[in-house]
């Protein structure tokens, strides 16, 4: 995987790891901004390479929603919610190393899996493997993190991974941009953040394990 798209994909993956692992939630949100911005750049470059103007529209939309609107909602919430992430289930002791190793292992595994998918995806094998790695990273964050805001970031990583997969597989069609623009979890993210604020104001924590103990 070479060239501009390849470089941007690696930057995108790096920003994804930062968004996933940064304990300070403001910093993690800035990493999410960077991650979304690299996604938008990838979309723009693909649109330029394949001559599909609709991809530029998707890139602008991605900047507006993923890099501006959603981070703005997160920053607004973090005025009230604590900056420091609740300690995850696995603790904070070696999360960075674990996550980096996980990303490396998963991307190698997915590279081989994508190879099994056959000749139809051979040309984009590397890019597809990286896109799926971002998706898996998002799932990992949603599964093992306890902080509501970090879980919302995980959901956004999942979405970006899905969109990147779509863009990598079918960059030459305007329908790809159409699918990407309209399949956005902005409202769901806003609602999750809003519920997190209400719960924090009521019980003083964003820990989802404590949340589950609210039941009588």
């Amino acid at each position: 995987m070479e060239g501009t798209v390849g470089t941007l994909m690696y930057l995108h993956l790096l920003a994804s790891v930062l968004a996933a692992e940064w304990r300070n939630l403001r910093s993690a949100t800035w990493a999410l901004v960077a991650q979304s911005a690299t996604l938008a750049l990838i979309l723009g470059v693909l649109g330029w390479q394949w001559g599909v103007p609709a991809m530029f529209l998707w890139a602008v939309w991605a900047v507006a929603t993923k890099a501006v609107l959603i981070p703005w909602l997160l920053f607004r919430a973090l005025r009230i919610l604590p900056d420091a992430e609740v300690e995850p289930l696995a603790g904070f002791r070696a999360p960075w190393a674990v996550t980096v190793l996980l990303v490396l292992a998963v991307s190698r595994l997915l590279f081989a899996l994508v190879g099994w998918l056959g000749s139809s995806v051979a040309a984009v094998q590397g890019a597809l493997a990286l896109a799926l790695t971002v998706f898996v990273l998002g799932l990992y964050v949603c599964t093992i993190r306890r902080d509501v805001i970090k879980i919302v970031i995980g959901v956004l990583l999942l979405e970006n991974g899905a969109h990147l997969t779509l863009a990598v597989l079918a960059p030459a069609r305007w329908e790809t941009a159409y699918l990407g623009i309209f399949t956005n979890v902005v409202v769901a993210a806003w609602l999750l953040i809003y519920i997190a604020r209400v719960v924090y104001e009521a019980i003083g924590t964003t820990d989802t394990l404590v949340l589950s103990q609210l039941r009588r």
């Binding site: 056959g118 949603c142 979405e159 309209f182 609602l191 719960v199």
Partner: protein, 529 residues
């Protein structure tokens, strides 16, 4: 035969617009709350009837350049959703205002005017039904995802309606897990679209349309299709409450208002099953579809067993019903995944039956709470003496969900057993029969404990004696338990569902025309056997 028609547009626009008007105006004008919801849904039921009539005459209705397309399967879902929605609205007119009085002190964040709460309730209910009908009418991969996500948002707000600690936890869990699930479905839909878009000769064709994808499904790379199917089963299976992706379901059902619990089990989880039926069966012509059949059968069988085993150990009536839904949705999805006429017919028939019966059970659970003030099975008993209509309705629901004759679920389950055995999945048929027996045991036990004997638990704190002596606090009637039969507006809906359950059991052929149309829609995609 296809024809352009405004009905595919109206079936979802009418309830959606009524919902928006209710949200906007209902807080100031009470007639724009429940009664607008009733009127809007009455019109929707009529439209769904017209759609069913056209479909039974052999038409497929299209609109908006084929992005909306209503065939037998769509018509079946829309009739079911509109009918159950109507019953839930009528039930809610009397039930919800009383429950609000009880739940208001526990509301987080301070009091909100009652009219605002009620307008939100009915508005969101109508919006959900509009989005549900849109999901069933759309022929576009994009709008299938969007409408499905909108149904999730609307129902999440309904789950947290009481805005107390438990409902917020349940709503958060529901929204988070189903959003993650639907993102898996997005990945699956994206892979399908990309596989179709990559085929030569598809330029200029609407490869975002489900029908167009179906035309080229046979040519798609097999490995990519298999991967897409895995994502779709995980994604839509989460929405459907299929184990092991069902973690949201028990809490959401338990903490939502009882009419909304009926909505969740009766309609919401069926949206996931519908989306699965629309998508994975596209690939039935593929030579490796047998692997998908086995995969779906394994998932469905696991869901059946996990659900009923969890239901058996519940003391909370609503959680027991919720886990039962996890089990029963396994039957539906197994049938749909078999790919044979009998399997699909049985799956869709059970979808109808489960919707009606589970809605009945949840509405009866609400009535039980109204009468007794509790939903703990260990604290209930002797209901048939205090509230005979409620007890009868619950008993009918309990016997029906177990699959006992002459109720409707007997026919649908028997069809599924036969279909699985005919397909060569004898192990799946045995698991389904075993689960059916456990379901009978679970619900007969619950019905006996609730309807017969002496009231337990409450006697210890003297409430039963207080009720007998005529001491009542009108303001907290539901908290203490009214200890008398529920009002007509509440039991009327239950009675309608009882009639439908018994009617379909005694005369299963009544559902045959529409079920046959729906089955043929899916089966048209399958290779000749």
């Amino acid at each position: 035969m296809e024809t352009q028609s405004p009905l595919p547009v109206l079936i979802w626009v009418v309830p959606a617009v009524c919902g928006l008007v209710t949200l906007a105006v209902g807080r100031w004008r009470r007639e724009f709350q429940g009664w607008l919801a009733f009127a809007g849904l009455a019109v929707t039921v009529v439209i769904s009837g017209l759609i069913a009539q056209s479909v039974l005459a052999g038409w497929v209705l299209t609109a908006w350049n084929n992005t909306l397309r209503v065939d037998g399967l769509s018509a079946l879902m829309e009739v079911l959703a509109s009918l159950i929605g109507m019953i839930i609205v009528v039930y809610s007119l009397r039930y919800i205002p009383g429950r609000l009085d009880i739940e208001e002190p526990r509301r987080l964040g301070g009091p909100v005017p009652r009219d605002v709460r009620l307008s939100s309730y009915y508005g969101l209910l109508l919006l959900f039904l509009g989005m549900m009908n849109w999901t069933c009418a759309t022929n576009s991969l994009v709008w299938l995802y969007v409408s499905l996500e909108l149904t999730t948002l609307a129902t999440a707000l309904l789950v947290i309606f009481y805005w107390n600690r438990e409902s917020l936890e349940a709503g958060y869990k529901y929204l988070m897990l189903v959003t993650v699930g639907v993102l898996f479905a997005l990945m699956g839909l994206g892979l399908i679209y990309a596989a179709a878009a990559g085929l030569p000769g598809t330029e200029g064709r609407g490869v975002l349309l489900i029908t167009e994808v179906g035309k080229v499904a046979r040519q798609m790379p097999k490995a990519l299709v298999l991967l897409a199917n895995v994502f779709l089963v995980v994604g839509f299976g989460t929405k459907a409450g299929l184990a092991p992706f069902h973690a949201w379901l028990p809490d959401a059902h338990a903490e939502a208002p009882e009419p909304i619990s009926a909505l969740l089990s009766g309609i919401v989880i069926k949206v996931g099953a519908y989306a699965l039926a629309r998508t994975i069966t596209l690939f039935a012509p593929q030579p490796d579809y047998g692997a998908v059949v086995v995969f779906v059968a394994i998932m469905a069988s696991a869901s059946m067993v996990i659900g009923i085993l969890m239901a058996l150990v519940q003391d909370d009536l609503k959680r027991m019903l919720a886990y039962s839904s996890v089990s029963q949705i396994g039957y539906v999805i197994e049938g749909l995944g078999l790919g044979t006429y009998l399997g699909i017919y049985g799956g869709l028939f059970h979808l109808i039956n489960h919707s009606l019966i589970k809605a009945l059970l949840f509405l009866a659970a609400g009535a039980i709470v109204y009468v007794t003030g509790t939903r703990r099975i260990s604290e209930l008993g002797g209901l048939r003496q205090r509230a005979p209509i409620t007890a009868f309705c619950f008993l009918v629901g309990a016997l029906a969900i177990g699959g006992l004759p002459p109720f409707s679920a007997f026919m649908s389950k028997f069809t599924l057993f036969l279909a699985a055995a005919q397909k060569g999945l004898l192990w799946a048929a045995i698991i389904a029969v075993f689960t059916g027996l456990l379901t009978v045991a679970c619900f007969v036990r619950a019905a006996y404990l609730i309807c017969w004997g002496m009231r337990r638990g409450v006697a210890d704190c003297g409430l039963q004696a207080a009720a007998k002596s005529g001491i009542r606090n009108p303001k907290s009637e539901i908290a203490l338990g009214s200890e008398r039969e529920v009002p007509v507006a509440i039991w009327t809906g239950m009675a309608v569902l009882v009639v439908l359950t018994v009617g379909l059991g005694l005369f299963p052929n009544l559902a045959y025309p529409l079920l046959d149309r729906a089955t043929v829609c899916i089966q048209a995609l399958l290779p000749a056997s």
